[in-house]
């Protein structure tokens, strides 16, 4: 990573003043150099600094486990867009423009991120070209979003995705925290990723406060994170099966997802992990006899899952629909900054648990699972591989929980004047929380980046050249969060 950036590890704090503030021209050069030098943008956002707008970039160098911070203060309400040279910041720049009224000049498609009604859509003109609009209310129990297809018959030229229907004002409300409202907002930022987001938050405030959770808390957090992955991956494989009208695996997996959610409920009373992860550790301990019971139920569920999911690979009609559908090329995946399952399905071996190990994953290594075709099938295969690794991890941890308390004794009070980036690997992929504290230790800015923020454009590109009837299948194979994006 080039010298302009202040380098920190995952969830390691820095004094904000130690992060260099450079001119926008240097900022651009440093950021573009870093991207050309194997770094990724994990977060890029604006904040108010006095009466001016400051931009903060956080980049990741996966191989070295390093996070780099750099700032610039804008002296004009516009700056030269980085998107033409660095497409992975396209949505971050749109967000900055929307939130702070500054213009990334030269941005190829500058429109709001969370105001779906107030925008024009990209349009393809020509004989027999037609437009299909879907949503925000969809034909199922699913979050709202609007999908605009430019088609010629079944053939999709272009898909534009307009989100913002789930915008509840989370980031705005987090400023001034931590407060008693902070944790419930973290738990519901993307409610199917309660553990992933709440853990990222807790790591951030623990890092800022210099508090270390006890070993047993790390193990229990890891178990909860992997149970969340097990439930969602299993549910997704079932839903993919349902989307190709193969009902046996869909039915089995629908039930098994519930079995995994019920194991999370054994930890804390809530199937979604509400009330479990707290600054300093976890709220509930898992006594040995219940840990044993959870391990036995996990074993049964995972053996059932193996049998149910094996049906997919053995069924030619399923394979025919999965293979070569919704392909994202590896180069494209890298260029647009995809993360998580969708990136690993393109052969990108990135996983926060491995590259920026946190909590229990500093001591126990979960292998990074990849596939190589970037299609629906690869995204399904990565999920199945990860189900096996997560189940092994949880079984191992349940059998060897450290004998310590589950909450740190020290209060978790963030230090003033700091910045911290906290990463976790949620079941969809990389979750990044960046907290900046003011003189009183309260958040002056709290930036959440759900993996979906990086990946929605990947779904749009996966549809190009495909058929409109493949959309539900492709959408499910990414299964991105609307609320995690909209916040």
């Amino acid at each position: 990573m080039n010298g302009a950036f202040l380098v920190r590890r995952n969830a390691e704090p820095a004094l904000l003043d130690d992060v260099a503030v450079v001119r926008i021209t240097q900022f651009r050069t440093a950021l573009l150099d870093a991207i050309n030098d194997e770094c990724r943008v994990v977060s890029f956002f604006g904040r108010r600094n006095g009466d001016r707008i400051e931009l903060v970039a956080v980049v990741a160098e996966d191989a070295g486990g390093e996070l780099g911070f750099l700032r610039t203060v804008l002296d004009a309400p516009r700056f030269e867009s980085l998107t033409p040279e660095c497409p992975q910041v396209h949505l971050f720049e749109r967000e900055i423009a929307e939130q702070f009224g500054v213009e990334p000049a030269g941005h190829p498609w500058l429109k709001p991120v969370r105001d779906p009604m107030a925008t024009k859509f990209f349009r393809v003109e020509g004989d027999e070209v037609h437009e299909v609009g879907v949503g925000p209310v969809h034909a199922g129990v699913i979050e709202p979003g609007h999908f605009r297809f430019q088609c010629h018959g079944e053939h999709v030229f272009h898909l534009e995705i307009a989100l913002g229907y789930q915008h509840r004002g989370i980031e705005r409300a987090l400023a001034g925290g931590p407060s008693k409202k902070t944790i419930p907002m973290m738990e519901t930022a993307a409610g199917d990723t309660t553990i992933g987001h709440t853990l990222a938050y807790c790591q951030a405030v623990e890092g800022l406060a210099g508090v270390k959770p006890p070993a047993r808390a790390h193990a229990l957090r890891g178990i909860a994170l992997e149970l969340e992955r097990l439930a969602n991956h299993t549910g997704d494989l079932g839903a993919l099966s349902g989307d190709v009208a193969y009902l046996p695996a869909a039915s089995f997996c629908g039930r098994l997802r519930g079995d995994y959610l019920n194991l999370t409920a054994e930890l804390c009373g809530s199937r979604f992990g509400r009330g479990f992860v707290r600054p300093g550790g976890v709220q509930f301990d898992l006594p040995a006899e219940r840990a044993g019971a959870v391990a036995r139920r996990l074993d049964v569920a995972t053996r059932d899952a193996a049998a149910a999911i094996a049906l997919l690979w053995q069924t030619p009609t399923v394979m025919e629909r999965f293979e070569s559908t919704g392909t994202v090329e590896t180069d494209t995946c890298e260029e647009i900054g995809m993360v998580g399952v969708a990136a690993r399905a393109c052969g990108r071996g990135i996983d926060v648990r491995h590259d920026f190990p946190f909590g229990i994953f500093r001591f126990v290594h979960v292998p990074v699972m990849t596939a190589h075709h970037g299609d629906v099938n690869s995204r399904a295969v990565v999920r199945w591989l990860e189900i096996q690794r997560s189940a092994e991890f949880v079984a191992e941890q349940l059998a060897m929980l450290p004998a310590t308390p589950v909450l740190a004794a020290a209060p978790v009070r963030p230090a003033p004047g700091c910045i911290i980036a906290s990463l976790t690997e949620g079941w969809r992929g990389e979750i990044c929380h960046v907290a900046i504290t003011g003189d009183d230790g309260r958040f002056t800015r709290y930036k959440i980046t759900d993996p979906s923020f990086h990946n929605w454009f990947g779904l749009a590109l996966a549809l190009r050249g495909g058929e409109i009837s493949d959309f539900p299948l492709c959408n499910k194979s990414f299964n991105l969060s609307y609320c995690g994006h909209d916040l």
């Binding site: 789930q166 008693k180 039915s251 409920a265 054994e266």
Partner: protein, 242 residues
Amino acid sequence: MTYPDGTPPALPAHFRGAPEIDAAKCPDGCAVCAEACPTDAITGAGPNIGIDLGRCLFCPECEAACPQGTIRFGSDYRLAARTRGDLQSLAGEERKLAERLDDALRRLFGRSLKLRVVSAGDCNACASDVNVLSTIGWDIGRFGIEIVASPRHADGLLVVGPVTETMRLALRKTYDAIPDPKIVIAVGACAISGGIYAGHPEQHDGAAGIVPVDCFIPGCPPHPLTILDGVLRLLGRLPPGA
């Protein structure tokens, strides 16, 4: 699953159902539970203490904060109510659970209820645990209840989420597209009161400000059993005394 004729499915050890409040334990002037509550769901103090289940997230904060053990979340999963006022859980008073629909509506919907689900700012947890009712374990089809794609095919609307401003119009249009007579069920703290997002200008503090709500099912998210209990209660499909 033998429920509702047989026993309901087992609930987990730390399950947080209807709160049990022992106001006799409250010392004068103590408000630690109210101060700990993220959604200000705790009303009154001392002998008049109560919890607004429409705002309650069923999180462990008040229970953990109270040194006397006044508030304890029990195992009663039955939470649905017909009016917002009936969600007020007061110390020493029995809660009024949802009454069934009137006879005319029960004749129409009692054995066949098609619901259109609209997600309007929810975090995907309420939606997921509504969705799970259609899986083979819960199988709401056995009651003639079905989640349908088109509002034109629906008898009612099930709303999750606080109703974001960006979804207000879509929710209203979906409601209008459902033929009369129709019912509306609000599931989860967000859809009832805005939940943790109450007061945010980006949302509308729940569904009732946009569409008339016939049944409120509290929780964050409610357990699938709580949701099923609420819907069956509304339809009068539960055995006597349940």
